[in-house]
């Protein structure tokens, strides 16, 4: 997967996540809170920079995107409302969309669970749309 238009890609991520990576002040409270920190090669406080630079491919090919537990600790504590967990979630969604998997049908989910559907997508989808 590759993106040609960096601006467009940042906009897409902003749109999906509802948060603005430019607000990040690199305080590191996300990295301090993250239970998967040691499993990640790109640390949560770096997510915003990767997205701003247009290195979403690198972010997605890293372990970090798929080691995020969607625990939302970083979202809860971020003082700048950047919410790195939402950013990486948006990046994952972008990747899924490019693979053509845009929508989930509720009754298909049990079947999908057996396959290699990333559990993070399910967890955050449920969290986000729990209403």
């Amino acid at each position: 997967m590759s993106f040609t238009n960096v601006e467009n890609q940042v906009e897409l991520i902003k749109e999906i996540s509802g948060s603005d990576p430019y607000k990040c002040m690199k305080c590191g409270k996300c990295s301090a809170s993250c239970p998967s920190y040691n499993e990640m090669d790109i640390k949560p406080h770096q997510f915003a920079s990767y997205i701003i630079r247009g290195d979403v491919d690198e972010l997605l090919s890293s372990k970090s995107a798929w080691k995020c537990l969607s625990c939302f600790a970083c979202i809860e504590r971020c003082p700048r409302d950047v919410q790195p967990g939402k950013l990486v979630d948006a990046a994952r969604q972008l990747a899924e969309r490019q693979r053509g998997g845009d929508h989930l049908q509720a009754d298909e989910i049990p079947e999908l669970l057996a396959e290699d559907l990333p559990q993070q997508l399910l967890v955050s989808a449920f969290r986000r749309y729990r209403r």
């Binding site: 690199k26 305080c27 590191g28 409270k29 990295s31 301090a32 809170s33 920190y37 640390k43 003082p79």
Partner: protein, 666 residues
């Protein structure tokens, strides 16, 4: 018929880069009344003003339109210039083609069109302008300072030393404010009490200063030079004249030993009796009875303090008293507090007594504090060995429910101070500071912080702490990330100190409303001009001092206090003030006495009288509005509210405004 001159300013490239100035001149040349139009690089410069004066004389101009920056910037300049050439200053109109045009637009053609429209509106207005004359009002030579912290104290002393009378209103039982709670002060580490208490005594003894402690401003009316302020002197329950300040009552109050009244001064780290002075060096040294907690006031029993008092000063019957005093100027020095930390559950402030705020640490290190200056954990009274400081708790926070968007400015420095003081007393202590950025601009400030690192080996780690977890063994587990080393850290600590964001004193909103002084989104008082008028409120006669205006340290507060005092003295030194002639007027033939205007007037300037009128031969008595010109500030609320169009504002008449609108829509 007016003879109008139009002057279009380039303002360097500020206007000329976006507005075709020459074209504006050509477009307005044939407007009604215009006999002269020209442009110049800087209209406000001496050469520019000369140009205006020459044109007034040569073309016998009766009105001016200056197309330039906002009238807030240079209306005064151009009015003075007109006056020099013998023109009434109120025959000048400014068309704002900078802030409201060139600075906010990019398209030159469109911006030029808009500049022409703005100029036309001003020309249309000048056609209807009439010469106005300023009145005069006397100045009461007495100032009020609201707040008795270091800002208020310094302002009052400077005004008093200049020979004017000053009153300080302080809501607490003693003056001294936040600074009296501190241990040492950065960057010189002199003890706060040692430099503050002499000033407190000086205030108390100064012949020109009157103190109203345990008092609050209740009502403000009037205007610059002539404020009437109602001050509520809360009942102290102790006779000021009889009390010798021996303190016997405080030691004998039964609640001092068995009660649970947290001491406000010691930030709840200690209890206090119901009859109390906030601290030993309190000024005035006269206790107050906290009626909400006092057993006598709650049950009618006890009365120990009255019995024990050797000078019979305790007076349970005392009532609140309201005094009304006249002032020429008012200084707001209401100071700050720290934010509530309830929303920061991750730092366990409400869970563990060993997680404290920096101001609580000040009390714990103060020789006059609850532990006599011995640093100990509140849980087990043991001396902490590992201490973690967390910076920016609630500062620089975009989430307005939790914190504040600004930098609190003082935390980096006081944390370095705390770290060094602790290391000085107990060199074995391990201190870690988790920071986002270390901000130390100021004279000898960065050197101070570097000393903490280089000389005292304080461990500074970049990265905000994620979580503080109280452990079963009584210690605290701090989880953070060292962003520069790329490692997540779990660290045990005996004590965690939070640098909580500062916020303006919550009471300031009420005071600002009474004074009609504007405040910003964060409740800091707004200055009249961020750079050029930093100690004045946009409301005439109101001045700002200290943290009430924005985050600042003690040296800055003292400088600002002096600056505010100079502005006050400059005002009080005048015998008369010129009053704004743009006041409301009532056309008694149209007024039907409905009271709508009086209801909307924020200055209480409208009253009613009965007049005899002859309406087409019919003699009758009619109730009509009357404007007190000394009180009217020309806000125009009445003119827009008046249903019959009887109220009109001089200089901004209804006809002038509709003509301006017509010119814009032409």
């Amino acid at each position: 018929m007016q003879r109008i001159g139009v002057f279009v300013c380039h303002c360097g490239t500020n206007i000329a880069a976006t507005v075709d100035v020459k074209k504006v001149v050509e477009m307005v040349r044939y407007e009604q009344g215009v006999v002269f139009a020209d442009d110049y690089m800087y209209m406000c410069s001496e050469a520019g003003q000369e140009k205006i004066i020459e044109a007034i004389k040569e073309y016998k101009l009766t009105g001016l339109v200056i197309c330039s920056c906002s009238p807030r910037m240079h209306e005064k300049t151009f009015r003075a210039c007109a006056e020099k050439a013998g023109l009434n200053p109120y025959m000048v109109e400014v068309a704002n083609i900078r802030e409201q045009c060139s600075w906010i637009h990019k398209d030159k053609e469109e911006a030029t069109k808009k500049a022409v429209i703005l100029a036309r509106a001003a020309i249309a207005k000048v056609n209807l302008n009439t010469p106005l004359k300023e009145g005069e009002s006397p100045v009461t030579k007495r100032a009020l300072v609201i707040g008795g912290g270091i800002a208020g104290i310094q302002t009052a002393l400077d005004i008093a030393d200049a020979g004017y009378e000053v009153d300080i209103v302080e809501k607490e039982p003693s003056i001294g404010g936040r600074m009296s709670q501190f241990d040492k002060t950065f960057p010189t580490l002199d003890c706060a009490s040692c430099i503050l208490t002499p000033k407190m005594v000086e205030v108390n003894q100064h012949p020109n200063i009157t103190l109203y402690t345990y008092s609050e401003v209740e009502k403000v009316s009037g205007y610059v030079g002539n404020f009437d302020v109602g001050i509520r002197k809360k009942a102290r329950s102790v006779d000021f004249d009889k009390c010798t300040g021996c303190g016997e009552c405080m030691t004998k109050c039964p609640l001092g030993k068995i009660g649970h009244i947290p001491s406000e001064f010691d930030r709840g780290l200690k209890n206090r009796p119901a009859i109390y002075m906030p601290f030993a060096q309190a000024v005035p040294a006269v206790p107050v009875i906290d009626r909400e907690n006092c057993t006598y006031f709650k049950t009618g029993k006890c009365g120990v303090c009255a019995k024990i008092c050797p000078s019979k000063a305790v007076d349970y019957e005392q009532q609140d008293e309201i005094v009304t005093v006249k002032y020429g100027a008012i200084v707001v020095a209401t100071g700050f507090d720290i934010i509530n930390l309830d929303k920061f559950g991750e730092y366990a402030y409400n869970e563990s007594p060993d997680v404290i705020t920096s101001i609580e640490l000040e009390r714990l290190m103060n020789a006059a504090g609850p532990t006599g200056g011995h640093l100990e954990r509140m849980s087990d009274h043991k001396q902490p060995k590992d201490i973690v400081f967390i910076q920016c708790v609630g500062s620089r926070c975009d989430n307005e429910e939790k914190g504040k968007p600004y930098c609190s400015k003082v935390c980096c420095m006081y944390t370095a101070k705390h770290a060094m003081l602790i290391k000085d007393h107990w060199p074995d202590t391990n201190i870690t500071v988790f920071y986002i950025d270390v901000r130390t601009p100021g004279k000898n400030f960065d050197e101070f912080y570097r000393r903490a690192v280089e000389q005292y080996h304080v461990n500074y780690i970049k990265g905000q702490v994620g979580k503080v977890m109280p452990q079963p063994d009584g210690s605290l587990l701090v989880q953070a990330a060292d962003l520069l080393d790329g490692k997540q850290i779990k660290m045990k600590a005996d004590m965690v100190v939070l640098a909580a964001a500062i916020e303006p004193n919550p009471g300031v909103r009420k005071i600002a409303t009474m004074l009609t002084a504007s405040i910003d989104n964060n409740n800091f008082l707004t200055e009249a001009h961020a750079k050029l008028r930093p100690v004045e409120s946009p409301t005439a006669g109101i001045f700002l001092s200290g943290m009430a205006q924005g985050p600042k340290d003690i040296p800055e507060t003292v400088s600002q206090a002096g600056a505010a005092a100079v502005k006050v003295v400059g005002l009080l030194a005048k015998d008369k003030l010129k009053t704004n002639p743009c006041t409301a007027q009532c056309d008694t033939l149209l007024c039907n006495g409905c009271s709508t205007c009086a209801n909307v007037c924020p200055y209480g300037a409208i009253t009613y009288e009965d007049i005899q009128v002859n309406d087409h031969g019919l003699r009758e008595t009619r109730r009509v509005a009357q404007v007190n010109l000394a009180l009217c500030q020309g806000c125009g609320a009445c003119t827009s509210a008046c249903p019959s169009g009887a109220m009109d504002l001089q200089g901004f008449s209804n006809r002038q405004i509709t003509t301006e609108v017509d010119a814009i829509c032409r």
